[in-house]
């Protein structure tokens, strides 16, 4: 299969995009949103889940540090829309925006803590 001229023209752009994503620019963006996530987490989550989501206040409260980003987004959305029901978490999740959910999930998923154990 031959490479179309149009595809050839796209190649440098794709390469540039890849280089940019590996550069500190993307890292800075990730850190910026983790800062927002940390602020919200300290305000809204830490009282029960502990700092960095790693010191829950009751045995039945889960650790969140290191949890999968996509699972946290799913859980918060499930609480927000009522699919998952817990008196505390339903109330906490209801006022969150989608952006806040992504920031919180990003922040907790970047902390040390939970592991994939086998």
């Amino acid at each position: 299969m031959s490479v179309q001229p149009k595809q050839r023209a796209l190649a440098p752009i794709l390469a540039l995009a890849l280089v940019l994503c590996a550069s500190p620019i993307c890292a800075t963006l990730a850190v910026a949103s983790d800062d927002a996530g940390k602020k919200k987490a300290d305000e809204a989550c830490a009282a029960c889940h502990g700092p960095e989501g790693n010191k829950p206040n009751t045995p039945e409260t889960p650790r969140l540090g290191g949890q999968q980003y996509g699972y946290l987004v799913q859980a918060l959305n499930d609480y927000r829309n009522g699919t998952r029901d817990n008196p505390v978490m339903s109330a906490m999740a209801k006022p969150l925006t989608e952006k806040e959910i992504r920031e919180l999930a990003g922040y907790f998923s970047h902390q040390q803590g939970l592991t994939t154990k086998r």
Partner: protein, 110 residues
């Protein structure tokens, strides 16, 4: 003590003992032996569910034992709705749940 308060105290104590025994008696070695049913999803880094929604399964290593027991109970009773987890939790006894939770929480046998 008033008789009614006595009865209340007995019920509260019983409830506390029962809820504590739901997670206090886990044997991590037995849990590890039963964990094959979990490893197919939870033992693979970044494994994703395929149905009904696509998202990564949670990491459960080092999770709190009592939370794992509660999650399994909630799947068994249908409070939590994931179909696969509901099917798996339905096969587990209270003791199985405590054992699995002790294993994943990283507890060592006292």
């Amino acid at each position: 003590m008033n008789k009614r308060y006595g009865l209340l105290a007995v019920s509260v104590t019983t409830a506390l003992v029962l809820s504590a025994s739901a997670w206090a008696g886990g044997d991590p070695a037995r849990g590890q032996a039963r964990a094959q049913m979990c490893e197919g999803c939870h033992g693979i880094a970044d494994y994703r569910t395929a149905y009904p929604q696509v998202y990564p399964v949670p990491k459960i290593g080092e999770q709190q034992a009592a939370y794992i027991v509660k999650a399994l109970q909630d799947y068994k009773t249908g409070v939590r709705k994931h179909l696969t987890m509901r099917g798996i939790a339905a096969t587990l006894s209270d003791q199985d749940m405590a054992d699995l939770a002790a294993y994943y929480a990283g507890e060592t046998r006292k």
